[in-house]
């Protein structure tokens, strides 16, 4: 118990890193997801293909391999040098972006065709229709799935400990081997993750209630 309490400040620094990487990665991932979803829905074939290939590659390979590929693989090329944090954020963002793009696409496609027709008949262009009419409804509708993905992504960041990013998990390992109090340390780390995810869920429920489609 003492070991856990003593380790707490050190672990909290790890939590800050975890939250920082998660925050930046999920925002970038969301932007990627939005762009890729729109690429899938254009009538321009090459854009559709690129989007499809990207999603399939991410879905068809383990995240750990993606992390190794970007941090070790890309870094082994002479003209690329990424530090751990950047490589970590990129990997997590690209990974989340692929899954989010599928959710966003499904959300967009779930909006009734009549909405587009009403908007176009008023004189809105296709782009304006997407921006003012379709996306606001689609994003509201996909909020629960978005929360789901955010929780998965937050947990995925723990894998970044393998490339030496000093996140919550990596700091847990350091403490566990330094103190020989594995049980107490990993219990503490687990509780911290649990609380953060619980807060995330509450936050999302709040936003969902607030922006519910009436």
């Amino acid at each position: 118990m003492d070991a856990a309490i003593n380790a707490l400040p050190y672990l909290m620094q790890g939590l800050v890193t975890t939250l920082y990487i998660f925050g930046v990665a999920i925002i970038i991932g969301f932007i990627i997801g939005l762009i890729v979803a729109l690429m899938r829905l254009t009538h321009i074939k090459p854009l559709q293909w690129i989007a499809k290939i990207y999603v399939n590659i991410i879905r068809g390979t383990p995240l750990l391999v993606q992390i190794f590929f970007i941090y070790f693989g890309l870094n082994s090329l002479s003209f690329i040098s990424l530090d751990r944090e950047v490589a970590g954020i990129i990997t997590i963002a690209i990974n989340a972006g692929a899954y989010l793009s599928e959710n966003i696409r499904a959300g967009i496609q779930s909006i009734d065709k009549g909405q587009t027709e009403a908007s176009r008949s008023l004189g809105f262009s296709g782009g304006q229709t997407m921006r003012f009419i379709i996306l606001p409804q689609a994003l509201r509708r996909m909020l629960p799935t978005f929360t789901n993905q955010a929780i998965i992504t937050l947990k995925d960041t723990s894998l970044l400990s393998v490339i030496g990013i000093a996140d919550l998990t990596q700091r847990g390992e350091v403490q566990a081997s330094a103190t020989f109090e594995s049980f107490a340390i990993w219990t503490t780390v687990g509780i911290i993750y649990f609380i953060i995810i619980y807060i995330l869920t509450l936050l999302s429920n709040f936003v969902e209630r607030r922006y519910k489609l009436r």
Binding site: D112, Q115, E117, A118, S121, R140, L213, R214
Partner: protein, 244 residues
């Protein structure tokens, strides 16, 4: 002055020809009702007028614009053509007032104050001023349809298209919507109305177009067409719908 000029309009869906050589002119301030059996192409015809459907061949002139010209700005042309749908299609994430003001603000550059004033005036006209801050899902079907009419009017269109505006409504809601349309007709709005409301067609329209199988079979003054149709197909259609 004709505000709509349709010449030799044809429309295919794949192999099936849905509109077969339609030519028609509509004058300013004219109220035209389109009637005909299900599947005869009434909606398709109406939707070609603002290019919600791409046509196969022919020309469509609305307000002097060639609607099918790929080099011109269809979005600008559409601003002058209001459309009201059977299923209302209000924007569920916007309030009633926002539904009406969105297009004037974004497309005509109106200030919010200006657009709100216009929106409230239109809501007053359709008798729904007190619903300005409600959401569409909080309204009855008839109320939603009247908001949809107000939304279309907010762009100050030169012509209004209606596709069976009362077909999705409970019977007791139909009257209010028809009344709003009647008022519009009296004010001199040009209207093309696809409808199954034969009473309305007879009383309000200047001209009735009867469509069947992708053709305009017969058209004319409703009083004449309803009492003394020239074509056998018109007669049999009317005897069916007027009975029920």
């Amino acid at each position: 002055m004709s505000i709509v000029q349709v010449k030799n309009l044809k429309k295919h869906y794949g192999q099936t020809e849905v509109l077969k050589d339609i030519s028609v002119e509509i004058s300013e301030k004219e109220v035209v009702c389109v009637i005909g059996p299900s599947g005869s192409g009434k909606s398709t015809f109406l939707r070609c007028l603002n290019r919600l459907e791409e046509i196969t061949s022919g020309t469509i002139l609305v307000n002097g614009h060639e609607m099918t010209d790929n080099n011109s700005d269809i979005n600008k042309f559409r601003q002058e053509v209001g459309m009201v749908f059977q299923q209302f299609n209000l924007f569920p994430h916007k309030t009633v007032l926002q539904n009406i003001t969105l297009a004037p603000i974004k497309l005509k550059g109106k200030s919010k104050t200006e657009a709100d004033a216009l929106g409230m005036a239109l809501l007053e006209k359709v008798g729904l001023k007190e619903k300005a801050n409600s959401y569409p899902s909080q309204l009855s079907g008839g109320q939603q349809q009247r908001v949809a009419i107000a939304r279309a009017l907010a762009m100050e269109p030169k012509i209004m298209l209606f596709d069976e505006p009362t077909s999705a409504l409970d019977p007791e809601m139909v009257g209010d919507v028809l009344q709003v349309m009647k008022d519009l007709a009296t004010e001199g709005m040009t209207m093309v109305i696809v409808t199954h409301e034969m009473g309305f067609a007879r009383d309000v329209c200047d001209r009735v177009i009867f469509m069947d199988g992708g053709y305009i079979v017969e058209e004319g003054d409703p009083k004449v067409l309803f009492t003394n149709p020239k074509h056998e197909r018109t007669r049999s259609f009317l005897s069916k719908v007027l009975q029920s």
